[in-house]
Amino acid sequence: MNAPLRRVGVVVMVLFGLLFANLNWVQAYKGNDYRTSPYNGRVQIDEYDRQRGYIMVSNPGSKPIALSTATKNNLKYLRSYPGGAAYAHVIGYKPVNGTATGVEQLENDILSGTSDKLFADRLRDIFTGSHTAGGNVTLTLSKTAQDTAYEQLVKNKIGAKSGAVVALDPNTGAILALASFPSFDPNPLVAHDAKASDAYKRLEGQAGNPLLNRALQETYPPASTFKVLVSAAALSANRNPDTPLLAGPGYQAPGTTHIIRNATSSTCPQEQMTLKEALTVSCNTAFARLGVELGSQRLNDTARAFGFYDDSLRVGNLSATDRGMRVEESVLGPLTTSSGGDDKPNIAISSIGLNEVRVTPLQNAMVAAAIANDCSQMRPYLVERLVGPDLTTGLYAAAPKELRRSCTASEAAQLREMMVSVVENGTGKKAQINGYVVGGKTGTGTADEEANAGSDGWFIGFAMKDGRAVAAVAVILDDAGKGGSGEAARIAGLVMKGVIEDKGGK
């Protein structure tokens, strides 16, 4: 029986050889795939082994708005957001399961400490056996402006259920405030237990969609704020602020029986007024007629020059413009007929920002910022600085970039002159700030009987000091009811005041 016993021994060797070969395949060859697999819970546990870095606002010395504190559990650190709902749409959140959002996602490599920029720290950890914390992110946000923006949206005096505020530094493109309302408390979403997914499900099903970042990802009819762009188009077509326009109580575009009227019968009953006067009182009939005169081509070109039809814009870190928070594309809608000619009835309604014209709050703020900065439109960004775990080693500092030229410097100066007139003499008086030159434009969705316009209250504008731009802002109150644009102007003024306060009054 010894011969078959020896053969059994060979069979056993073969079986064990198969086991050994297969373990080599699983552990050595496929090991890295499995180690980093999205199904592998160890990935998260490892992430939580290292203290995640801070996220801070631009104000020097202020407390972090995202930090990690030690726990006694398997996951060694718990993320928390002391800024709460006001900062939720900017910072996002870093849940245990699933993907992070906002800046937490954008700068995950730095915050978690896995970035190449932190290689030296990781190398040192290998020898010391410790886990150095991740790097830290300083945002462009101005604390007072951001807090004011969110607080004023929540406490708006006209009962609006939703809205957004964007404030920019026109000189750099730095986002000084970015608030979306309604918002959510991100803290429950980063809990280590099942409460996190419960909280997420609750938010997902909540009316008003608090998870949506309205400042970047929702588009609205710009209403009368669009008249600024039509004015820019007119200036580029050899008109000037004093060019006389035909106004009047009603305007009937060629090819339609629909009559465009003004917000009130007292707005611009006179037959003729200048471009500047028409913008100051927000005269619908004058701008509808002007738009038809300018034609679809020029309106489209001007809109593009100010950032419409840009579906690749991302907001985040200027060194990686292909990443960051997505911005919804702003559009004019169809202005030509199927044969290619101008669709004059549509152009007429679109010229007062209704019909199918849609903008994001950010885009509208970028229009105001470009005008404030001599039509050099800067690329908007959120990440000001990245620093190492020691809070001093600089890893990155933003270098502002021009995104596009929107018009000529002299046209920008003329637009500013007209917009200042709006705030000083016209519909935007509530945005005034003592000691500053404020320009802007209001917009109200209910200015026309167009049902699809809803009832949005808009204000876009800027503040200047000694000929230098300080801030540009866009405020929208959705479902605002009466007085929406006035309330938006008031909030815009407060937000810009917040920016000024944080800059030390400069």
């Binding site: 016993l5 059994v8 056993v12 079986l15 064990f16 373990l23 552990q27 890295n32 592998n40 006694k72």
Partner: protein, 487 residues
């Protein structure tokens, strides 16, 4: 009448230990050859325990950030019980293979250490340093080790010659079949755990897996039956395609065992046990008859049955569904990574995370793998000791199996050869089935990993298996001059 040519008294006295009278050894008066063998065993055993101590210390260093004196307690208990076994072997099987006990003790010790490591992982960080020695799975496994090794000692003590076992062959065979089939006929509430009807539960706390013991009983019966029948099975045959096939009526017992393993497969929903019984039988049949045709028939029957069961799972469902699902999970575990494929996916991820060198004992997250204390213990350890560690573990198993086969080759009686060969191969096959299962080499089936998995039945049965191998190897290695087992 005395003659001057008889041996002088001094020489006679010196020769006393060499005479057959010394076949009844004591601790102090051991044959020098046996003493050398046992000294080797002792040193290897202490080396194995030192390795277990090192493992436990590394676990504490990684999990508590300090090494408490507690890690000595499990090592101390294990060392004491294995030393007791060593003493019993000195008394009752002095020539037994010296490698078997240290190798198995190392596997067993690492199993206890890893289960204790899992207990520490489950405990809150603050409670970890206070984990009692007999607490949790690790503590329970330590107690079961005491019981299992005591069982092995009892077997060595009372069974002085492995051929005594053959006297009870028919009884053991019948008992084995009853034990195998018992869980299948019992209601699921008593016998089903995690979808496999392999258990007999007494209340909610205590459960045994009768199949673990049935394995040994059936093997003893096979060995006895085949020794008696080998002539007729080997000689009466027909030649077909150049291979000798047995006569139809001689196939009877094979068909019975084949049917039994299929019943196990279908009604106990357990491919692994079924494969184990059948492989065990076919291989002992092959060894007994030296006919390759038995291997071919066996393989065709088993794989034919398995393929048929898979096809029936798709067509009929019912009792075949479980098997069909297991094959589908095996083919693509990532198809339903959070549902049916979860166990296997997590096992693969654990093994892959370990990579070449592992995270180190206590530094991984084996608790992410479901059932890591039972079926998936090898994958759990693989995360922490890596490919190198697992390869060493495979080498340990291979060492045990090869020592069993060596005993089979060396022992002089046919029953001993078949029994030792069968036991060694069964151990190898069980290791292959479960480790192949958790590493996705073959479809996963619920089997315990010998000497590692938490669970008393498996540990006791496998230590009895080792005791039988020790008994046979002692018979094989006892020199004829000391009156060892005769042919």
């Amino acid at each position: 009448m005395t003659t001057p040519h008889t041996a002088p008294p001094a020489a006679a006295a010196a020769a006393v230990p060499e005479t057959p009278a010394a076949a009844k050894p004591s601790l102090l008066r051991l044959d020098p050859a046996a003493r050398r063998v046992r000294r080797t065993e002792l040193w290897l055993l202490l080396l194995a325990m030192a390795m277990v101590a090192g493992y436990l210390a590394a676990v504490e260093a990684n999990m508590l950030d300090t090494v408490t004196m507690d890690f000595w307690y499990p090592v101390g208990v294990l060392t004491a019980v294995f030393l007791a076994l060593h003493v019993v072997i000195r008394l009752r099987a002095p020539f037994a293979d010296p490698v078997l006990v240290p190798t198995v003790a190392l596997l067993n010790g690492l199993g206890v250490a890893f289960l204790r490591r899992l207990d520490l992982g489950r405990a809150k960080i603050d409670d970890r340093p206070e984990l009692a020695i007999f607490a949790g799975d690790g503590g329970k496994q330590l107690l079961w080790t005491l019981i299992a090794v005591t069982g092995a000692m009892a077997l060595l003590w009372f069974v002085r010659d492995h051929r005594e076992v053959s006297k009870y062959a028919w009884t053991l065979g019948l008992a084995g079949i009853v034990l195998v089939l018992l869980p299948a006929v019992l209601p699921s509430s008593v016998s089903e755990v995690n979808g496999a009807k392999l258990w007999i539960r007494f209340g909610s706390f205590f459960a045994i897996q009768p199949g673990e013991f049935a394995k040994l009983m059936l093997l003893a019966f096979f060995a006895y039956y085949l020794v008696r029948k080998r002539e007729v099975l080997a000689l009466a045959s027909r030649r077909f395609l150049g291979i000798d096939f047995p006569r139809g009526r001689d196939l009877g017992p094979v068909i019975v065992v084949w049917a039994m393993s299929l019943l196990v497969l279908i009604f106990e929903k357990d491919l692994g046990t079924s494969l184990l019984y059948f492989g065990m039988f076919v291989v002992t049949l092959y060894v007994a008859t030296e006919r390759v045709s038995w291997l071919i028939i066996g393989l065709v029957l088993f794989f034919g049955g398995a393929v048929l069961a898979y096809l029936l799972a798709g067509a009929v469902g019912g009792p075949f569904t479980n098997f069909g699902q297991r094959v589908e999970i095996w083919l693509d575990p990532f198809a339903e990574p959070y549902d049916r494929g979860y166990q296997l996916v997590q096992s693969m991820l654990g093994l892959g995370t370990g990579g070449m060198f592992g995270t180190g004992p206590g530094a991984g997250n084996p608790l992410l793998v479901p059932e890591v204390r039972n079926d998936f213990i090898f994958a759990g350890m693989g995360e922490e000791i890596g490919l190198f560690g697992l390869t060493a573990m495979l080498a340990l198993y291979l060492l045990v199996v090869s020592r069993g086969l060596r005993a089979a080759l060396a022992v002089r009686d046919s029953f001993g050869k078949l029994l030792a060969g069968g036991l060694a191969f069964t151990l190898a096959l069980q290791v292959f089935v479960i480790i192949g299962g958790v590493s996705k080499l073959i479809p996963l089936t619920g089997q315990t990993t010998p000497f590692l998995s938490a669970g008393g039945s498996s540990l006791v049965a496998n230590w009895l298996l080792i005791a039988l191998l020790l008994r046979i190897s002692d018979a094989a290695r006892t020199p004829a001059s000391t009156g060892g087992v005769r042919r």
